[in-house]
């Protein structure tokens, strides 16, 4: 097996990078892929909590690179998806205790066993970011339709290109269709035009993400969740399947009749494709 390493990055913190990592990783595993997600946010780990695996951590990333355990001992099997594993970040160590070379070596070894190695990158563009992108062949840049997040995403895309990661695609998270319709929020076309990269997902803002995170169950398991459905489509696109891009502004029902249709299970075909 020769898998690929994908880094999830954003520049700005708090845009939903870790949530996206958990959901894309889970959705890829539900497509019968062997997937490992690595939390590289040393000192501020959260991927374990989002995936509901915080009580199963015995060994972490730093234990692996410092050879206090074998890789297999640090792999935490997911509760739900059979072939999904987590390597947690160390919570009580310094960010500098893992080098780029060590992470590259780990990812190359994991690529021999897994279809996808997904690296959850820390926020910012410091050493932790440089370590995380060192091992990746592809990057998914998570942003929200907000000024600061887009600006930081642009900076990160520039750095990814400088480090010769040419395949950087965008996940635009937390799109609020009502605000976009009123002209109060940037829409997906604005963001894509300014950043000049391809999209791999347009994820609507969704309260169900909060409840799923509280429960430690990724939102892709919730078939009623609009964001969960989009993360499933993101995984399919990463996996090479052609799935047309669906703008949440067109997907979400606006009129009472649309809402009745949705409740009755009569779906109107989404009309906005990229």
């Amino acid at each position: 097996m020769s898998g690929k390493t994908i880094v999830m990055t954003s520049g700005k913190g708090g845009v939903g990078k870790t949530t996206a990592t958990a959901n894309v990783g889970t959705a890829l595993a539900l497509r019968s892929n062997r997937v490992v997600v690595i939390d590289t946010d040393i000192g501020l780990r959260n991927l374990d909590v989002v995936m509901g695996l915080e009580n199963r951590i015995v060994y972490d990333l730093v234990d692996v690179v410092e050879e206090r355990c074998k890789i297999e001992q640090a792999l935490i099997r997911d509760k739900h998806a059979g072939e999904l594993y987590l390597i947690a970040a160390a919570q009580t160590r310094d960010k500098d205790c893992v080098s780029g070379e060590q992470l590259v070596d780990l990812c190359r070894r994991l690529e021999a066993e897994f279809d996808y190695v997904i690296v959850d990158c820390p926020a910012g563009i410091e050493q932790g970011f440089r370590n995380a992108i060192a091992a990746a062949q592809e990057a998914l840049v998570v942003t929200t339709p907000e000024v600061s997040a887009i600006r930081d995403a642009d900076r990160v895309i520039g750095l990814l290109h400088a480090s010769e990661i040419r395949s950087a695609r965008l996940i635009i998270n937390r799109i609020k269709p009502d605000l976009v319709r009123r002209g109060d929020m940037l829409d997906a076309s604005d963001v894509l035009e300014m950043l000049a990269v391809d999209a791999v997902g347009l994820v609507p803002s969704d309260d169900r993400v909060i409840t799923s995170t509280n429960n430690g169950t990724p939102v892709v398991y919730d078939t009623q969740s609009p964001s969960g459905r989009e993360f499933v489509r993101v995984a399919a696109r990463i996996d090479g399947e052609y799935i047309p891009m669906i703008d949440p502004v067109d997907e979400q029902p606006t009129s009472i009749m649309d809402k009745v249709r949705t409740l009755m299970g009569i779906n109107r075909k989404a009309s906005a494709h990229v």
Binding site: V147, R151, R181, G183, D184, L186, D187, M194
Partner: protein
């Protein structure tokens, strides 16, 4: 292809979306034009080296840098020549 299918929603003048778009574009333009101090210094030295081949330069009065205004980013230089009277 992308443009053909995308609806132009709410991009009216003065709307929060329009304001946000202009602000992001402005910020990104500046960020992309950022030149590091060593790069700027090397550029200045190269420029002075070339000018000195043609004209006598008084380097202690050389200004060199990036200036930004609403029209964009400009590389601005002011080089004093030696008095040859």
């Amino acid at each position: 292809m992308f443009k053909l299918f995308w609806k132009d929603r709410g991009l009216r003048k003065g709307s929060p979306r329009q304001v946000a778009r202009e602000r992001v574009e402005s910020a990104i333009r500046r960020d992309r034009m950022e030149v590091s101090a060593p790069q700027l210094s090397a550029l200045r030295d190269n420029m002075l080296f070339t000018i000195k081949e043609h004209l006598p330069v008084a380097p202690e009065f050389t200004e060199f840098g990036l200036q930004r205004d609403v029209d964009g980013v400009f590389l601005v230089s002011r080089v004093r020549l030696q008095d040859i009277r």
